[in-house]
């Protein structure tokens, strides 16, 4: 492929040529039926051109010489059209410290070693097991998806990278019913690698049993009273906080639009305990779902320290924003598929662990809640956030109480980080299933230790 791309890279315009071949296999079973088994191939080339101080982008699935030449022409035409309207001229950013070569992410028990029939059987067995777990289960589901990627990235100024990567994910769902009462619970894992990575922390059966039990237990679980509370966030909720409430505000494109993090480099934005990072690698626990060895501009990724001991240190950059801020790019430019333009996206976002065992954190909390089972969330430009959590456990006098129905937590992200007064000693990646959305999807992960802080909490359903 590089031989083919080499014929086009030496152009009068700066070019970025990104060939991306993706195979997606997805299998979904619900209530004894296989409701979706799909094999999808999506491949082609995305071309970015910098002409007259503006970018143009074109894509095609036609990888013949005529197809590539046409895409390059269209990209340059688009750039010229954009250049006529831009107020400022984009200059080519400095070349990055390329690490050219071939990069293959590790995979234990590769997904390619198992056939379609095994994957079909897996989802059928899993949803049957959820259904069998309790007579109160009225509906059960299981989904398995794998993204298998191969990319070639070449730029006029020296990037030359080949990548291979696999990201599997598995999800089980349970609906429990008692009369008119209905409750749901979902357990999911999303990793980078193979089946050995996907089920390293929890087996499929662990997930099945947890989903079924939680749905049934929630049927008659009481609701909490809302208010401003001391809470201990489980790692998946920590992941949602750092990704949604902090991570998006420090993406440099959003900073330049005026997010709440603008102008705050060097400012104290969190408690001294908090060191918060975004990494293309998988610190503390292998196989995180957002592993990116080289980003889609060909820039090697790194562990980017966003907040260190409470002080904001860095934004997340692509080449263009890094040049604007006078720093090195951080390897955060990502495109979901060949026909997407690279945008600044997160990878694996986390808080560094501390020293305190969870049992001690609970014992040291006179009045509060343990929150787990992160659901959806959203954060605002002003750092105001909202997340739903599926499981709430009251803590009274240092003792953990029974499961209560889920609720919603809100707050100002930086105020919450400033209120952090205790960090757990055990680390977990726990947000790898599903996708981050920002005009196009991205596979990410997030997590950390258990974190104690202050938030506003309300119960689901009022």
């Amino acid at each position: 492929m590089f031989d083919l791309l080499e014929k086009y890279i030496h152009d009068d315009a700066w070019l970025e040529l990104r060939v991306h071949d993706r195979q997606t296999r997805s299998f979904f079973a619900e209530d004894g039926l296989l409701d979706g088994a799909k094999l999808r191939r999506h491949g082609g080339i995305g071309v970015r051109a910098l002409v007259d101080g503006a970018f143009g982008f074109a894509s095609t699935s036609d990888l013949t010489p005529a197809g590539i030449e046409a895409a390059i022409r269209r990209a340059k035409d688009c750039a010229r059209a954009a250049a006529k309207q831009r107020k400022t001229r984009i200059e080519l950013p400095p070349a990055a410290a390329w690490k050219n070569g071939s990069f293959v992410t590790d995979a234990h028990d590769p997904v390619s070693a198992r056939g379609v029939d095994e994957k079909v059987d897996m989802v059928l067995r899993a949803q049957a097991a959820v259904s069998a777990a309790s007579e109160r289960i009225s509906s059960s589901s299981a989904r398995y998806v794998e993204l298998v990627d191969e990319k070639w990235i070449m730029t006029s100024d020296g990037a030359r990278v080949h990548l291979r990567d696999v990201k599997p994910e598995f999800r089980v769902g349970a609906v429990a019913k008692d009369g008119t009462l209905m409750q749901t619970a979902v357990e999911a894992e999303g990793k980078t690698g193979g089946f050995g990575d996907l089920f390293r922390r929890r087996s499929m059966d662990d997930m099945v049993q947890k989903a079924a039990k939680t749905a049934v237990d929630l049927l008659h679980a009481p609701s909490i009273e809302g208010g401003h509370n001391t809470v201990i966030l489980a790692p998946d909720v920590v992941g949602l906080l750092v990704h949604e409430a902090i991570g998006h505000t420090v993406e440099a494109d959003f900073v330049l639009s005026g997010s709440a993090a603008a102008g705050k480099i060097g400012h104290k934005v969190a408690s001294d305990l908090v060191t918060l990072c975004d990494s293309g690698h998988s610190e503390y626990e292998p196989g995180a779902g957002g592993i990116v060895q080289i980003d889609d501009e060909g820039v090697p990724t790194e562990r980017t320290v966003i907040i260190e001991d409470g002080v904001l240190k860095s934004y997340l950059h692509n080449r263009e924003s890094a040049a604007h801020f006078g720093v090195a790019p951080t390897g955060n430019a990502r495109a979901f598929e060949y026909d997407d333009e690279p945008l600044i996206r997160m990878r694996n976002t986390y808080i560094e662990p501390g020293q305190t065992p969870l049992e001690q954190m609970i014992a040291d909390t006179p009045d509060g809640f343990l929150l787990a089972s992160a659901k959806n969330g959203q954060a605002d430009a002003n750092a105001e956030f909202m997340f739903a959590v599926g499981e709430i456990y009251p803590i009274k006098n240092g003792k953990l109480g029974p499961l209560h129905k889920g609720g919603t937590i809100t707050g100002d992200a930086f105020d919450v980080l400033k209120s952090v007064d205790m960090l757990g000693d055990a680390f977990r990646w726990d947000l790898g299933s599903g996708y981050c959305g920002k005009g196009q999807p991205a596979k990410v992960d997030a997590g950390g230790p258990h974190v104690r802080c202050q938030v506003s909490l309300s119960s689901q359903g009022g």
């Binding site: 979706g36 799909k38 059209a81 954009a82 309300s458 359903g461």
Partner: protein, 449 residues
């Protein structure tokens, strides 16, 4: 090769023939092709113009009662042949299901106004210029900050052929614009908001109106204060009412959800679920509407469907598979494209307006909710989350200040019996039109007490 609707029909004919020759007992091919041009805005400036060609073919093959599906984004013989082989592989590995079957063809309606030559002729310079008009309109007040925005055109063709005799094709165009951003006043960063509008024709585009609407929304969010705490009347804008209430009800009216025991409305056909005569219709045959077309993802005719009939549960939405499982007929609601299996989806949704003037609604409500950022449990109907783009209202119905960190919560099915009134005017969006709603007994939790 220039791709047209007829080209795609020929490809689908060949794909079905190949599938049958390679062992399928029945087959369907759905192919599509689109050219798109988009001008993207970022940080109050033109970012880039992008051009894409999208091609795709999805092949459903049946080996007896077993179904396999494969899709690819190249339209050459080898790629299509590989997709067929993979689909057959999946079918042979899958369990039998009597609901895996193709539908017989049915006469299709004529739906006009789906193709605008002006959209097809638009150039990169045209979309870039329209994007700058949108930006200028939004930023008449320099406190408005556009994080991202876009203006784009799409020209598409689609075709479907099945061994049961379905054979149809269509061409269509669309023009869309959108903005995402916030207002910034000194150190104050307001809440973000977004607007978007899609049309079939270039003539209907109005970047000045869209930009002005966006500016008003984000500027209104400056200077927010803590909200009140009470249980009582809340004014939901058309968007917020649709998102929280109609979204939940529509999920429960999906025939697949009903079949799988996850719908609260499964045994409520003909029963009243609201205290006002909500009348909700989905219609994919409206001339020139964004969600319209002659046929659905399975080549079945689109037709109007009354989902809520004067406050009573009307029809459930079915695609082919969910219809077969329920012993019902497809309602022509199979949605999806070449890369997806069919599943039920909406076309153009309309909620009939009520008779309450908006001024009266404002006087009766404690707060006005513009957008909802929270969680709705699709099965129970419980919801809680933050009221975004929202305002406190005084007794005269004036907006006193924007709200911050104010939560709303309730249960959709309970609150549908507490509707005080629906607005007397429909707000028209891209594929939805409906009125605002004043609803009592909503739990509001704010920090002002």
């Amino acid at each position: 090769m220039t791709i047209t609707a007829d080209t795609l029909l020929d490809l689908c004919d060949a794909a079905v023939k190949t599938a049958l020759e390679r062992g399928a007992s029945a087959a369907e091919a759905y192919a599509e092709y689109a050219d798109t041009l988009t001008a993207n805005l970022e940080q109050n400036d033109m970012k880039a113009v992008t051009s894409a060609t999208h091609a795709g073919i999805g092949v459903r093959v049946f080996v007896g009662d077993k179904l396999g599906f494969a899709t690819a984004n190249k339209l050459d013989d080898i790629t299509i042949g590989t997709a067929i082989d993979e689909a057959i592989l999946v079918a042979k590995a899958s369990p039998a299901d009597a609901a895996n079957a193709l539908l017989e063809p049915a006469p299709l309606p004529t739906v006009d106004g789906l193709y605008d030559p002006a959209v097809a002729a638009a150039t990169a310079d045209d979309v870039a210029a329209l994007a700058m008009r949108l930006l200028a309109a939004a930023r008449k007040d320099p406190r408005v900050s556009i994080d991202t925005g876009s203006v784009g055109t799409a020209v598409g063709h689609g075709a479907i052929v099945s061994s049961a005799g379905v054979r149809a094709s269509a061409s269509e165009t669309s023009f869309g614009a959108g903005l995402f951003g916030m207002a910034i006043d000194g150190d104050e960063v307001g809440s973000f908001d977004h607007v978007d509008k899609t049309h079939r024709t270039l003539a209907a585009a109005d970047p000045e109106a869209l930009g002005a609407d966006f500016a008003a929304r984000v500027l209104g969010q400056l200077g927010p204060k803590d909200g009140p705490t009470y249980q009582g009347p809340v004014l939901f804008t058309a968007d917020a009412f649709a998102e929280i209430f109609l979204g939940t009800v529509l999920g429960a009216l999906d025939g697949d959800t009903v079949f799988k025991g996850k719908s609260k409305l499964a045994d409520k056909r003909g029963e009243t679920i609201s205290n006002v005569p909500l009348h909700l219709v989905d219609d994919g045959t409206v001339a020139g509407a964004v969600g319209s077309g002659a046929f659905d993802r399975e080549g079945q005719p689109h037709r109007p469907l009354v989902l809520l009939d004067e406050g009573k549960v009307g029809a459930f939405m079915y695609d082919g598979k969910s219809a077969l499982r329920a012993g019902a007929q497809s309602t022509g609601h199979a949605s999806g494209g070449a890369t997806s299996l069919p599943s039920a989806g909406l076309t153009n949704l309309s909620l009939r307006a009520g008779d309450m003037p908006e001024a009266d609604m404002r006087k009766a409500a404690g707060i006005e909710v513009g957008r909802f950022s929270g969680n709705v449990d699709a099965i129970s109907g419980d919801f809680s989350g933050v009221a975004k783009c929202s305002y406190a209202l005084d007794e005269a119905g004036n907006r006193t200040h924007a709200l911050k960190e104010t939560l709303i919560a309730g249960n959709v099915y309970t609150l549908l019996h507490s509707i005080i009134g629906l607005g007397d005017t429909q707000v028209i969006k891209s594929t939805y039109r409906g009125p605002p709603a004043l609803i009592d007994q909503v739990t509001v939790t704010g920090r002002a007490g």
